[in-house]
Assembly symmetry: C2
Homo-oligomer: 205 residues x 2
DNA sequence: ACGGTTATCTACCAATTGGTAGAGAAATCT
DNA sequence: AGATTTCTCTACCAATTGGTAGATAACCGT
């Protein structure tokens, strides 16, 4: 809640810089593993400046999560609207849209995965934020199945499977490194294409 | 290293009980988020008893990881040997074999995901343990592609994709809960079947 | 019976954690 | 210019962290 001081801050990008560092650290190492001191050190500011902008660590976590959810929602909805009508093409468009920011900042989807670790109740507000997005995805998929344009199955579970695939790949560079994958431009394109083919094959009617 | 006191322990299943609790806690909440006191409390023993069996927290982490890797290796290799020749059937057999213990104890695969968070170098020994398993999987998949019995693609990346899908699904009950999935016997079977169909479709030639 | 190993405990400790109190600049308003 | 709000800082603090020291039983082979 806590109506923010509003981004008046004369020169102040401090709040944004804190949010960005916190996003990266929380998303890659987990909430509990990152101390306020570490974040402050990375931002180049005193710990108490964090606690000025965010009343507590939990507040900061919530802000980071809300930020990420908003960002993802925008990306997904924009891609969804701009995409072609065919469901496989549309899915590819959305996956590509998410993939780009996701592999550059594994923290983004990493945060999503951290959700399940939040003290129950603390994740409530965010779930409410994400639920409509998920519900729409499930409804869309169900509809396309009925039209025979996607392989038939349980729409809810298939949405989860797609989510698991994309998120897993984007958040676990280690799993890719161990099979000898290199994170360079060619590697990224190859990975994206392979994932696209994988999902297309999995969902084609 | 540290040659263990060997499981002589007269009545003592203490070491095993510690390992089990630690596995579940580490796998679901992450290494840093779980304190030795918490593990000790769950086992019902003093913290110093942990430090008797494991010289340090890091030692405990390594033991937990080695344990998990051994368990997974056994399960996978047994399923691989017992499975039919057809690659899709064989893959299904392996996935089923992993899926059963994995959804009952999300911590198992959760630990695997935690690997990328370990202080680099600390993950080395375990990677060496897992690498042969991964390499064999990639070689097998490459072979089956050449025979035309699996959809062609980059074997290494496809192995990673399968890993991401299975692991993601098994470790994120939250992602399933949000689409309304229930973790009961019927739900589990449905999820397993849906995942099987998903992977079969994704890999069929 | 008894000396030594095995296993568990209570008592501490230094470092780090999230968080409080409040001083000191710097910008803004009147 | 002076008062006030906005922002960042230097202390501090209680609780928790991983870990050490050492006492104390319980069990063993001889």
């Amino acid at each position: 809640m806590a109506s923010r001081p509003a981004p008046t801050s004369r020169r102040g990008d401090t709040r944004e810089r804190i949010l960005e560092s916190a996003t990266n650290l929380f998303g890659t190492r987990g909430f509990d593993s990152v101390s306020l001191d570490q974040i402050a050190a990375e931002v180049g500011v005193a710990k108490q400046s964090l606690l000025y902008w965010f009343a507590s660590k939990d507040d900061l976590v919530q802000a980071v999560l809300a930020n990420m959810a908003a960002e993802l929602t925008v990306v997904v909805e924009a891609a969804m609207r701009a995409a072609p009508d065919d469901p496989l093409d549309r899915l590819e468009a959305v996956v590509h849209a998410v993939f780009r920011p996701a592999v550059r900042r594994p923290a983004l989807l990493g945060l999503l995965r951290e959700l399940s670790r939040l003290p129950s109740g603390s994740a409530g507000p965010l779930n409410e934020h994400l639920e409509p997005l998920v519900e729409r995805a499930v409804a869309w998929m169900s509809d396309e199945m009925d039209r025979g344009r996607l392989r038939r199955g349980n729409p809810a579970l298939i949405v989860s499977l797609i989510y698991a695939t994309v998120t897993g790949i984007a958040t676990e560079p280690e799993a890719l490194r161990i099979v000898g994958w290199q994170q360079d431009i060619a590697g990224l394109r190859q990975l994206r294409n392979e994932m696209t083919q994988f999902l297309r094959a999995a969902l084609a009617p």
